[in-house]
Each structure stands twice: as C-alpha cells, then as structure tokens.
C-alpha cells in the first residue's frame, strides 16, 4: 500500500483501538465504578464537591432539574467569559496591551465557547491576551465538552432505568467526574507531548527575531499547548492562532497531527463503546459504531480523492498534480507541505465528522467536491459528532427510524424496550427540524442583504458556500470555517451567535424531555413482535434514515453551492 493510503488507514485503526480502551474506562467512570486512577482523583473531586456544595453534588435529579442546572451553569460561565473578554485590557498577562474585546464580538465569542462551538470571528494571536486565552478560552473548552457529554449520559440513563423512575443522575457530579477523570489527565499528557514536539507554552506574547537575511520578524507565542490539547480532546476547535492547527507552532510535525486526530476522535467514538457497556448490549453499540464508521469512511473518501486530483485551474497553471516521492501533488492551495494532501484531507474529514472545528488546512480553498462532504457531515452532525450531542443526534435518527419502520410493518415502535409514542416523536422531530431551519434561513437571508454579501471573500457559488458553511458550522457547534468570510461584522457576529444558541440548547432541552418521558416508561421484555434495533438490518435502515431525512433536506442548498461550483469549475469558469 502506498504511504498515502497507509497513513489514513493506520490513523483510522488507531482511532478504533483507542476508542475500545477508552470506552471501557468511560463506562467505569460514569457508572461510579473503581478505576486505577481513583487515588489520584478522589481528593480533587472531593475538593470540587466541597466548593460547589456537597448537597448539590449528591442530590438525584429528574430531567427538568438536570436540564435547569445545566442551563444555569452554562449561563454563569458565559457571563464570566464575556466579562474576561471585554475587560482583558484591565486584567493581567496582557503584554501586548491589547484592548478589551468589542461587546458584540465578545458576546459571539462567549456563546461560541460555552456551547462547544468555538467559532472565532477574531484572529487569536492578534486579539486575545494570554489571560483571555487561558481564562476565557481554555476554561470553557473543558466545561462545554463536559456539558455535552453529561447530557448524553443522562439520556442513556433514561434508557436503562427499568422501574419507571425519574432519576437521571446528578449534573454536578457527572460534570466534575468527567472533567477531572477524563479531560484533565488527557489534556495534561497530550499538552506535554505537543510541547516536546515543539508547540510553545509560555506567558510571553511574542518574540522579535532578525532573520538570516536581516529582516525583522515578530513571532507570536503564548500558552498554546495547554489549550490545544483540550481544544481537540473536548472536540472544541478554535485555536490559539488564527489559522489554528495549520500554524507550524501549533501543529509542527506529522506526529503532532496524529496526536490531534487521536485527541478529537477518541472520545466521541469511545462514547459508543461506553453506551454498549452501560446498556449491556454490545451488539447495539456495534450497529451504531458500524453505521457511523461507514458514513465516516464514505465522506473521508469523498474529501481525499478530489483534493489529490487537484483542480483545472492548477493544471492550467502548470502545476504537477500527480503525487510522487518528491512532491505531494494535488490541490496544495491552503495546505502545508508537512501534511500534504493525505493528512490535510484526513484532518478536514475528522474535524467535521467529530464536529471539532480545529483545522490544519484552509477548507475555503478545497475543491467543491472535497469541501461538500465537510458541510454534509456538519449538516448531519452525527457521524460520531461532538461530545455527547453527536451521539444524541444519531439516536434521534434511530428513534425516527423505529417509528417509521413500526408504522410500515404495523408494530408498536419500541427502542430498547421503551415504547416510542406521539410525545417522543413530536419532541424528536422538533430537535431534528430546528437544525435545517437555523442553517438555511440565515444563509438565504445573508444572500439577499448587502451586509450579508459584503463579507464574502470569494464570488458566485463559492461565496455562497462560505456562508452556508458558516451557518452549518454554527448550528452543528463545529466552529471550523470557510475562513475567507469576514465574520466579524455586526450581522454575522449576532446571527451566528443566535444560530449557535438555537443549534445547541433547544435540541438538548427537547431530548432531555424525551429522556424524562422514556425514563418514566416501563421496560418491555423483547417478544417475537419486537422490531430489534441491534441487528445489521436495522443498521441499514438507520443509515437510510440518516441519508433520506438528514441529507436530502440540504440537497437543494448544496446544489446551489458546491455542486454548481463543481460544474463551473469543470467548464473553466472563473468568478
């Protein structure tokens, strides 16, 4: 096998193996079983329980209480982030004397980071003080990832409550345990690995050098590594530097690139494994893992192949598109030599599948065919998906699938022994429909108003793709961008912040309501009449539901963007 495919295959294999190991550990942590690391973390957790209040951390919560506490905590954190950003000029560790952030941009940033989106309308190294990078950016990378994860945990508990109870666990306890026992050690270890490979970690902001030719160059530095490891482990995205993991100081080697891919993929994939262990049905988990895996492989191939094939424009300009041992070939515009095509396209597919949002290449410069699967993965947001919410999104399609299949064959729809009835389907449909609404409506509006069009970096279809990508990224809480779009305008700062909010909290609230309703139902023993959801047959059905319900919704929008652009490109049109 050529190194091109071998490095992609080995990375996928590593994700699989890592998720198996981590999934077992996650299940132990989230069900309160002993782990080897307990002596290390019991005192730390104890301290945090005491700071938050022992009572608050031990009370069982029903779905309403769990959701309300989650919302209140997220609100308090967002306010804190906002305050740090607008007052960064009066706070310490601001060696460049940067001004406080504009209120509208700070609002956008606070919303973006508390929701695990990490969309950035600013360039990190030129806008944020080191204190802001730590206290307003690194901080929510932990808590927002944990928030998404614990919501999924609460939902899974609802599926396994047998006695028709209401206890979904305790929000504070879940969040603290997941943050300290999973995120903290992972982030710490990988931060040190990244530093060893050459990622800076300093409280200085920049250094001036006199280059070999005697020119002046100012190099931005800062506490990069600590943020970068949690940025990917928490599927946050949003980097220290403007170009994120494409920056040679943020992602200096192919080894760091591999580490980042493992960081972002391991937990969402391990969540599926954990799910199988928590419900005691490994077959069910493998059906889900299989469908997600097939989707990922498909979209990955759709991205990698056209990027290596290159574009007619590059061919015209006399660029050698054929990869060889001496040069990468392909569409290298907006890509780095150390990653070439394989690692860049792989990273792009991973970051949109696991809805992380960190990038190591400029997606805006991708071919139309290669950029489209990135958008589709964010439109589906369940190809593994981000922390917790991706998994929930996948279950939503499963519930729809069960319901439709049940209607077709005349059986009562059931999922894991819980009857799926009208209230659940109404809530699930709402959670599903809000996603296309908040992507398509503001994208369309941006195309007809001058304050929407003035931000475009590219003309015609590609410019429209920049906007469609932006709102898909916001709604999926991804955070990556077709970065040519100037998103730091009042319209985009406000609209994107609202789309992020609507893409995050209403679906979570609807699904928590579903959880409450399912938890209250008795678990029916499987009978001959049960439509089993843990079979390959249902896996195929699940897959079809995702493509028909999820992807077809967005087909018209994609036809106007990347698909039209493809035909323009193939016929040598320029705009």
């Amino acid at each position: 096998m050529s190194p091109f495919w071998l490095q992609i295959g080995l990375t996928l294999l590593a994700t699989l193996l890592l998720s198996l190991v981590l999934g077992r550990y996650l299940a132990r942590v989230m069900t309160g079983q002993r782990t080897l690391l307990d002596p290390l973390f019991d005192p730390l957790d104890g301290l945090l329980y005491r700071l938050v209040g022992r009572d608050a951390c031990s009370r069982p919560m029903n779905w309403q209480r769990y959701t309300l506490h989650m919302l209140a905590a997220n609100l308090a954190m967002a306010v804190l982030i906002y305050l740090v950003l607008i007052f960064q000029n009066r706070l310490p560790l601001n060696p460049l004397k940067l001004a406080g952030m504009e209120p509208m941009q700070a609002f956008n940033t606070a919303i973006s980071f508390i929701t695990n989106t990490n969309w950035q309308s600013y360039g990190g190294e030129s806008t944020l003080s080191n204190f802001s990078q730590m206290a307003a950016i690194t901080f929510p990378m932990f808590t927002s990832a944990a928030t998404g994860f614990v919501v999924a945990i609460a939902f899974i508990r609802a599926l396994i409550v047998k006695d028709g109870g209401a206890d979904l666990g305790n929000f504070y306890r879940d969040l603290i345990r997941f943050s300290t026992r999973v995120l903290l050690p992972g982030a710490l270890l990988f931060a040190l690995f990244l530093i060893w490979q050459g990622v800076p970690q300093t409280l200085d902001a920049n250094v001036a050098v006199n280059t070999l030719q005697g020119a002046h160059q100012t190099i931005s530095l800062g506490p990069v590594a600590a943020q970068e490891s949690i940025e990917n482990l928490g599927t946050n995205g949003g980097g220290f530097f403007n170009v994120n993991a494409a920056h040679p100081l943020q992602n200096p080697t192919p080894l760091t690139n591999l580490a980042l891919l493992m960081l972002m993929s391991s937990l969402p994939a391990a969540l599926v494994v954990m799910f199988g262990r928590m419900i005691g049905n490994a077959r069910q988990a493998w059906v889900i893992y299989g469908v997600m895996g097939v989707l990922l492989l498909g979209f990955l191939a759709m991205t990698v192949l056209p990027e290596q094939a290159g574009t007619p424009l590059l061919h015209q300009a006399g660029v050698s598109l054929q990869a060889g041992p001496l040069q990468p070939g392909g569409n290298m515009e907006g890509k780095e030599v150390r990653f070439g095509i394989a690692q860049s396209a792989l990273y792009a597919a991973y970051t949109t599948a696991f809805t992380t949002g960190s990038v190591n290449a400029m997606h805006d410069s991708f071919t139309p065919q290669g950029g489209m699967p990135l958008m589709i993965q964010m439109m589906l947001q369940c190809v593994f998906g981000g922390k917790g919410v991706g998994f929930l999104g996948f279950l939503v399609y499963g519930l729809i699938g069960v319901f439709v299949a049940g209607l077709m064959v005349g059986r009562t729809p059931e999922f894991m022994g819980k009857k799926i009835e009208k209230p659940e389907i109404v809530l699930v449909s709402l959670a599903l429909l809000i996603h296309p609404l908040v992507i398509l409506a503001p994208s369309a509006w941006s195309m007809v108003v001058p304050y929407g069009l003035s931000s475009l970096n590219n003309a015609a279809m590609h410019g429209y793709s920049e906007v469609l990508y932006a709102f898909s990224s916001a709604a999926a809480n991804n955070g990556s961008a077709f970065a040519g779009l100037n998103a730091n305008t009042p319209w985009y700062n406000l609209a994107i912040a609202l789309v992020i909010l609507l893409g995050r909290y209403p679906p979570i609230i609807f699904l928590m309501a579903v959880a409450g309703s399912l938890a209250a139902k008795p678990t029916l023993p499987p009978s001959v009449g049960t439509l089993r959801t843990d079979t390959p047959l249902f896996g195929v059905w699940w897959f079809a539901t995702i493509l028909i319900v999820g992807a077809l919704t967005f087909l018209p929008a994609l036809v106007l963007g990347p698909i039209a652009e493809y035909f323009a490109m193939a016929t040598h049109h320029l705009f």
């Binding site: 609100l75 192919p254 590609h462 490109m569």
Partner: protein, 209 residues
C-alpha cells in the same frame, strides 16, 4: 431557584480556577522546566545574541542566492491607513491563508503572475511542483518539497557560484522523510537549508569563484 444559581455560580468559579488558571499555569511551569527550548518557540540563536528565527516558522526569502519558501498570504496593517491591510509575507504575528477557492479569478491571476516570475529563473521548465505556486494554509509554512528545492538548486548554485552537485547533495542531507516512513510528506526546512548553505560556503571560501 436561588440554590440553583448559587450552585451554578460556585461550579463556575471552581472549574474556572482549576481549568482556566491552575491547569494552563501548571502546564507552563512543567514546560519551562522540562522543555525550555520548545516551550519558548524553538528559537535559533543568531550571531549577535538576538535570535535569527524559530526553527519551525518560515521566513521570507529574497534574491537568487537563497532557497525560497512557498507563497505566503499573510498581511499586515497598512502604515498609511490602519483600516486597510497590505501584503506582508511570512508575518508570524498574524497567520493566514489566501482562502481563495478553485473558481477564483484572483487565484487565477496570482498563479499566472507568480508562474511568469518563477519561470524567468527556470529556463526550460514546464510543470512545477504542487507546493511551488500554491500558498500555504498558515502563510508560515517552513517547508518545501524536495522537488521544489531541486528545481531551485541550479539558480542558487549559479548565484553563489557553487557546483550544482554540491548544492543537490546539501538538499539531500536536509530532506526529512515521512515519520516512521508513513506519516506526512517528505520535506525540507528552508531556514535550515539556507543556514547550512551559508555556513558551508563560509567554511570553504576557496571553492567559490
């Protein structure tokens, strides 16, 4: 309601102290003790004590006697009008890519202008390595492909009056392969190649004309 807000605020402050302050500061402390060189940007000491660059950050090269890095799309604030930006290749204080798509007229114009300028120094060449005309994602790419370096070798050798084989040999010794033979791409760090070129020539002045 009050108890809920109370718990939420306390959780916020506790996690803020731990993850927003203690964690990054602890990592900084360990990094500065264990990996001081990398943690401060892997700087290369220059002749006068001031650093001459960061090992992983590309520099802007001018003149026929140096190997050139890839096109860079970084900009800087226009000194005449702070609301505008001007091209400033390899501005390591403001990383950026071109973000131009494959149907962009601006990309077309840039590619053909750059091609014309490049081919002036490269007689007889028709196809160029992929990384030679395309701008990098960060605008700070420290590397070029071996094909790119080999294509520039005759120009550099002629400008420095060095035998071509020796410049090619220098390129070969500075080529970094794929990690474990699999991950990433073969590449050459332009700064280290140019530094080697300079010190090598300084050490053997009798070989130059």
């Amino acid at each position: 309601m009050n108890t809920m807000l109370n718990s939420a605020v306390r959780l916020t402050l506790a996690t803020w102290l731990l993850f927003g302050l203690a964690y990054p500061l602890a990592v900084t402390g360990i990094a500065q003790l264990a990996f001081p060189r990398q943690a401060n940007g892997s700087l290369i000491a220059g002749p006068g004590g001031a650093p001459l660059g960061a090992a992983q950050v590309g520099q802007n090269w001018v003149g026929a006697g140096w190997f050139h890095g890839r096109p860079s799309a970084t900009t800087d604030t226009d000194p005449k009008d702070p609301s505008k930006t001007i091209p400033a290749p390899y501005n390591a204080a403001s990383s950026n890519g071109s973000n131009l798509g494959p149907t962009s007229q601006a990309l077309h114009d840039r590619l053909f202008t750059d091609r014309k300028a490049l081919l002036k120094d490269l007689p007889g060449i028709q196809t160029l390595p992929a990384d030679m005309l395309t701008s990098s994602a960060s605008g700070l790419d420290p590397d070029i492909s071996p094909a790119n370096a080999l294509m520039q070798a005759p120009r550099v050798a002629a400008a420095r009056a060095l035998p071509l084989e020796q410049v090619q040999a220098l390129i070969a010794t500075h080529t970094v392969g794929r990690t474990f033979g699999v991950f990433g791409e073969p590449r050459i760090n332009v700064l280290s190649l140019n530094m080697a070129l300079q010190s090598w020539q300084a050490a053997k002045p009798q070989q130059t004309k």
